[in-house]
């Protein structure tokens, strides 16, 4: 080519014809699918990753924090090259009412150095980077392609059918990493039906632009460092859910997540909850003058352990959100997605040695997950969503009470401290019967500990 440079078209530069049958097909280019694709391609397997969006990440959103250690398990030292926004050095938890908030803050200087603890990211950029890594490792990355159904042969999954002309692809095994709406997992007979409303949270989010140094001033951050704030209470209009504020490089993500079920039963609309949240004085102060960049909504499967589909079948595995692998307590899903994707790939690799991909062979995926943080965590918090939805007053009443107690206690007036305590106790009891208070806290402790 006359000494000219050659850019690989998103590949490893080796012009290889596509095989007639792939070693593996991965459906979905989110963290789960890309971790699986990258791991398989790196091991020399012919793997194709199909993503319906314009590119990997184009349709994806999250709060979002990604945590270093699990991510580094798949992509060691990723912080040197991945497009990250800020490393988070401070995590706050607020209990908010309409006009006041109790704030608990945790800050660690450890979080400001390698291997860090967590980063804020833009999924559109982060996923794109992951997909480039997968392409460089040798995978066939196929964006803008919707997988419509699975191909079957003798009761086994043997490939996928896409919406494109000539769109069937065969493979030894299909890894379903399609995210929260797991149509294919259902089609594979692994999930009984669509995820139930009571197990889903709806998150709505806005990205607001603000210059870097203004963000650092406002959130009291070192240069390049970030804050993550989770808020419960008035944020979500008394519905079970949380609000969040994350600092990116020159934007702020603000959003609320509420259980879909409670939203369906209430008259509130998700966007009005977000508006309401942004109006809170403590929140408003942080986002003042920041202009709207983008606006999005996404579902989070928060059913946890009990609502997970079967994870494997003949010729098929499920990973990430499609498998309901989200830790509802802190909406952590990207971690679990990355790790489960990697383990799905490792399962395929070990099955290749034996040359069989039936359910019995692929079943070791489950064992691998059980022995890892993925299912350990999910099991630990298995009652969390249940608890959250059956104790809606936690999100309205208690924060309100706690805040008013704090206000009473901290407001210096002419009342003696002893009188004040008595008054507060009366106030508190008048709102919540003590028995139910004790019960709530006991249950919360049991479910969440």
């Amino acid at each position: 080519m006359n000494g000219s440079q050659v850019h690989p078209a998103g590949g490893d530069g080796k012009r290889r014809p596509a095989p007639s049958r792939f070693g593996a097909i991965v459906v979905g280019g989110g963290p789960a699918g890309l971790a699986a694709t990258y791991t398989l391609a790196g091991a020399g397997v012919d793997v194709a990753c199909l993503e319906r969006g314009d590119w990997c990440g184009s349709k994806n959103m999250m709060g979002g924090l990604i945590f270093s250690q699990p991510t580094a398990k798949v992509f060691p030292n990723f912080w040197h090259e991945a497009p990250l926004e800020r490393h988070v050095t401070r995590r706050d938890m607020w209990l908010a009412t309409g006009d006041s908030a109790m704030k608990v803050s945790f800050e660690s200087t450890d979080f400001g150095a390698e291997p860090y603890n967590s980063f804020t990211v833009y999924r559109s950029r982060f996923d794109k980077w992951l997909s480039r890594r997968a392409a460089e490792a040798g995978a066939w990355m196929i964006p803008e392609t919707l997988v419509e159904s699975l191909l079957w042969e003798d009761g086994r999954v043997v490939g996928v059918r896409t919406g494109r002309p000539g769109g069937d692809l065969e493979a030894d095994v299909v890894i379903i990493a399609e995210g929260v709406n797991h149509f294919l997992a259902e089609a594979a007979g692994l999930a009984a039906g669509p995820p139930k409303a009571e197990t889903m949270a709806l998150a709505v989010k806005e990205v607001l632009a603000l210059p870097r140094d203004r963000i650092e001033d406002r959130f009291d951050l070192d240069r390049g460092a970030g804050a993550a704030i989770e808020i419960i209470g008035e944020t979500t209009g008394g519905l079970p859910g949380t609000g969040f504020i994350y600092t990116n490089r020159d934007t702020i993500s603000v959003g609320v997540g509420v259980l879909l079920d409670s939203l369906v039963g209430s008259t509130r609309e998700a966007y009005s909850l977000l508006d309401n949240f942004k109006q809170q004085p403590q929140v408003r102060r942080l986002i003042q003058g920041a202009g709207l960049r983008e606006y999005s909504a996404h579902l989070i499967p928060e059913g946890g352990y009990r609502y997970m589909p079967r994870l494997f079948g003949d010729g098929v595995l499920v990973a990430g959100d499609a498998a309901g692998m989200v830790n509802a307590i802190n909406s952590e899903g990207a971690n679990l997605a990355l790790l489960s994707g990697q383990m799905a790939a490792q399962t395929v690799l070990s099955c290749r040695e034996e040359g069989r991909f039936d359910a019995a062979a692929l079943g070791r995926y489950r064992t691998m997950l059980e022995n890892s943080l993925v299912l350990k965590d999910l099991r630990k918090y298995s009652s969390a969503t249940n608890f959250l939805s059956s104790h809606q007053h936690l999100f309205g009443l208690y924060p309100e009470l706690l805040a008013s107690l704090a206000r009473e206690f901290l407001t210096v007036d002419n009342m003696s401290k002893a009188d004040k305590e008595r008054l507060l106790a009366r106030l508190f009891r008048s709102q919540v019967p003590v028995r139910s208070l004790i019960k709530d806290f006991y249950q919360a402790w049991r479910d969440l500990k």
Binding site: M1, N2, G3, S4, Q5, V6, H7, P8, A9, G10, G11, D12, G13, K14, R15, R16, P17, A18, A48, A135, W140, M141, I142, E144, T145, T162, G163, R164, P165, G166, G167, D168, L169
Partner: protein
């Protein structure tokens, strides 16, 4: 007869999002997503149609910064044969004259390679009717002049290529109608949105594209005079950019409880104040 085509593809900012920074008076480019110039996809489809019926090759050609290879990767997915990106600092800042100079040098080289490989040269050059950022529509005709091609712009329907006579027939859109033109090959055509939209690429093509290379050529790869490239080779200069004079937001005539007939009366009173009076035969 096999027809070899070159399709010129430009990566452009999504212009609906481009704005002028009111403080600095400069263009805000950062964070604006890039897209393939929509008319170029119509051009690509027209080229694919010609290849469907005549065979031959299609080369996509683009001049732009390194990241413009994204656009070429995407068009590779339509099953074309080759993608070439002209990228070099020296090409930067080109107006349409310098652009056609550089693109034409590349097309000559492509033609040379086709001939060296035992084929004919380039028979057809396809461009979009205009780019949505520059909006000039000057590059297609410019290429025609520089490469001595027949020039047919604003093609709204491309008809069969007649192999025996080496001619092509095309309908060209004008303000007052359409004209059927017959042009001798080699030809440069610019394609409007009245042609067919780009097809849905087949999966096997996408798979092939996933591993196909985008070739990147610099000035050193072309037979060009450095002084005729990029900003240096551009006779035009942008002396100023500014936001279009915003129309002032006017007056709101409606009010919470104002009945429609009052609003209507108020409107025509206001119009009358401006000298727009209802009622004919007064003058």
């Amino acid at each position: 007869m096999r027809i070899n085509s070159v399709v010129c593809i430009k990566q452009v900012p999504d212009t609906t999002q481009v704005r002028i920074d009111p403080d600095s008076g400069s263009l805000i480019r950062q964070g604006i997503p890039s897209v393939i110039n929509p008319y170029d996809l119509y051009a690509l489809e027209a080229a694919l149609k010609v290849r469907d019926s005549h065979g031959g090759t299609i080369t996509a050609l683009s001049m732009g910064p390194p990241q413009a290879d994204e656009a070429l990767r995407k068009v590779l997915g339509y099953g074309i044969d080759r993608a070439v990106l002209l990228s070099d600092r020296a090409f930067a800042g080109a107006d349409t004259l310098a652009t056609t100079y550089t693109l034409s040098a590349a097309i000559r080289k492509i033609a040379g390679e086709l001939i060296a490989a035992g084929g004919a040269g380039v028979d057809m050059v396809f461009c979009g009717k205009q780019s949505i950022d520059g909006d000039t529509g000057q590059v297609g005709p410019g290429l025609a002049r520089r490469l001595d091609l027949s020039q047919v712009t604003y093609v709204c329907s491309l008809l069969e290529v007649a192999a025996e006579t080496r001619t092509v027939r095309a309908w060209r859109q004008r303000e007052d109608g359409r004209e059927l033109l017959e042009a001798r090959l080699p030809v440069a055509v610019t394609i409007t949105e009245a042609c067919n939209p780009i097809r849905y690429a087949a999966l096997p093509d996408l798979l092939r594209a996933a591993k196909a290379p985008v070739e990147v050529w610099s000035a050193a790869d072309l037979e060009v005079e450095p002084d005729r490239l990029g900003l240096k080779g551009s006779p035009t200069r942008v002396s100023k950019v500014f936001a279009p004079p915003a129309r002032e937001r006017g007056e709101t005539l409606s009010g919470p409880d104002r009945p429609p007939n009052e609003i209507a009366a108020a409107l025509f009173d206001k119009l009358a104040e401006r000298g727009l009076t209802i009622g004919g035969s007064r003058g």
